[in-house]
């Protein structure tokens, strides 16, 4: 096993189909789509449950169910139901993204000091204002950690797209294994890992940017 595939300039040609940059971009595209759809679904549900306290069992069970669901199995099921294409892949990845976001939104709101929420109502905020001006900003640290773990998981798991004929960095792994080109497999693993670390860094930076400094002060 060696790094020759990774460092071969020919594999970094932007124009060539199947080059590392192209696979990287399609991989990133699946990741962003799954995160976006998952957040649009999970965040409102998690916030609603956390804000009202209604249906907490959903939040708790979603966390457990999400961890135990095999993404590859789900993907195969979706492919048999829906046929090949982007849709079954996105469904499988979105299902993976939902639990950590939903659970962290719920846990973030539940962990808030009830006195502060009480104060928000007491000064005359309406329920929506309590949520957007007090609960959400205060829950951001927990929420962001859920989003970051969802990102890490989906970056690693988006390699399954290649198993059903799509692109993404999974191509390097599956094609490499198929032809016993372990240098290619190694290149795929490394690029996936580097992508995960970079995305997490970007999110860590974003978190510092959007979380109020007042929540970072240690007493």
């Amino acid at each position: 096993m060696n790094l020759s595939y990774l460092f071969d300039a020919a594999h970094w040609d932007l124009g060539a189909s199947g080059s590392i940059p192209q696979l990287l971009l399609s991989h990133l595209w699946y990741v962003i789509l799954a995160l976006a759809i998952g957040t649009v679904i999970a965040l409102p549900v998690g916030l609603y449950i956390g804000h009202t306290g209604r249906g907490s069992f959903i939040a708790i069970n979603a966390g457990n169910a999400g961890r135990s669901l095999p993404t590859l199995g789900l993907l195969m099921l979706m492919v048999t139901l829906l046929g090949l294409g982007l849709l079954p892949v996105l469904i499988a990845l979105t299902v993976l993204v939902i639990p950590p976001i939903l659970t962290s939104a719920y846990a973030g709101l539940r962990s808030l000091d009830p006195q502060v929420v009480d104060a928000a109502r007491g000064v005359g905020m309406r329920p929506w204002q309590v949520l957007t001006r007090v609960e959400l900003p205060m829950a951001l640290p927990v929420l962001m950690s859920g989003f970051r773990s969802a990102t890490l998981q989906v970056v690693a798991t988006a390699t399954v797209a290649a198993a059903v004929g799509l692109g993404g960095l999974g191509r390097l792994l599956i094609d490499g294994l198929a032809v016993n080109d372990y240098s290619r497999v190694l290149a795929g693993a490394i690029v996936v890992a580097v992508l995960a670390v970079l995305l997490d860094l970007v999110l860590a930076f974003a978190q510092r940017w959007i979380v109020s400094p007042g929540l970072r002060v240690s007493r």
Partner: protein, 336 residues
């Protein structure tokens, strides 16, 4: 004026927290709800701004039932100082204070400018404006809590143990500032405390609750001290209520005797001390004027080396003395 009309609050599974309470919180005055822990003070207070709704009975503000009013609008019109301040940790001190004006439609800029002035009002230097609540001491947080409640200049203020999280010295200072502010602002204030001394000091009217949410007595501090309705109130206001009630009367009518030769004075007639022997002059321990309270006179008589309190005029010149037995006779006659 805030009116409680036969108000009852029963928590589901929690028993009766407020039991048929009827009372009035007069406009422009400070009314203090006081009583042992769990007797329904906070519950009563929070029924005024609809944070809690009564099981039966009505709470009216200037004759209008709060139950029919829009919750959020009602609350924006009532300053609410929450126990332990309840500040928003993610907002700066300035933005905490600006909260209600912004809700009422002011621009953030206008609200912040006004908030800065308010910080000064409650005795916080402008450099605190950009800090976050976690960077303040308990006493400073409570000041911010008061400033936040005052920000929209509401006619009514609800204050739940606003001075509880601080030590006695700081509390003393906050009390003084509270009295000074209230003298300027003349708000209608309903305040909760479990400290009877605080109630007597700050309240124009004091409502004493007993266990089970029952009002034991309503009256001015003086009425409660001089004429407690029952054993519970007498016990609650304290065994030393006789001495404390002296705080409400001045020494204006207290008779004095002429200054004797034993009182050593300087050229201007200011007392230096008592001559208790040929070379022995002992300090008087302090003096009073006719504007001071009888409590101070009693204190001076007790502390004086010869048992005599010395009165001075506006220039500090000794103009009379009151021996402790004269004071005792005066108080006895006054009571009789």
């Amino acid at each position: 004026m805030i009116t409680f009309d036969d108000v009852v609050k029963v928590y589901p599974g929690g028993g009766t927290a407020v039991d048929h309470v009827s009372l009035e919180v007069p406009t422009g005055k400070t009314t203090v709800f006081v009583g042992p822990s769990g007797c329904g003070k906070t519950t009563s207070l929070r029924m005024i701004n609809r944070m809690i709704s009564p099981t039966s009975g009505r709470v009216l503000i200037d004759g209008e039932d709060v139950a029919g009013q829009d919750e959020a609008l009602l609350r924006r019109g009532i300053g609410y100082v929450i126990q332990h301040a309840g500040l928003f940790p993610h907002r700066t001190v300035l933005d905490n204070v600006a909260t209600v004006p912004v809700l009422l439609g002011k621009t953030r800029r206008e609200a912040r400018a006004a908030a800065l002035g308010l910080l000064e009002r409650v005795g916080l230097a402008p450099e605190f404006a950009q800090r976050y609540p976690a960077q303040l001491s308990g006493g400073q947080q409570q000041r911010v809590g008061v400033a936040r409640a005052l920000a929209a200049d509401p006619p009514i203020m609800l204050m739940d143990e606003p001075f509880s999280a601080v030590d006695p010295v700081v509390r003393e200072g906050l009390h003084r500032e509270f009295l000074r502010l209230q003298k300027d602002l003349g708000k209608t204030i309903a305040m909760v405390t479990h400290d009877i001394d605080e109630a007597i000091k700050l309240g124009d009217l004091v409502v004493i609750f007993r266990q089970g949410g029952i009002v034991a007595q309503i009256g001015t501090p003086q009425e409660l001290l001089s004429d407690p309705a029952d054993e519970f109130v007498a016990e609650f206001v304290g065994r030393d209520r006789g001495l404390r009630s002296l705080s409400f009367d001045t020494a204006a009518e207290l008779p004095v005797k002429p200054v004797p030769a034993e009182l050593v004075v300087d050229e201007a007639g200011r007392p230096l001390g008592w001559r208790t022997g040929a070379d022995d002059v002992r300090p008087t321990g302090g003096t009073f004027t006719s504007a001071d309270t009888l409590r101070l006179v009693a204190d001076l008589a007790i502390l004086s080396p010869v048992g005599i309190a010395v009165r001075v005029d506006a220039d500090g010149k000794a103009d009379g003395i009151t021996p402790h037995h004269d004071l005792a006779d005066y108080l006895a006659a006054r009571r009789g």
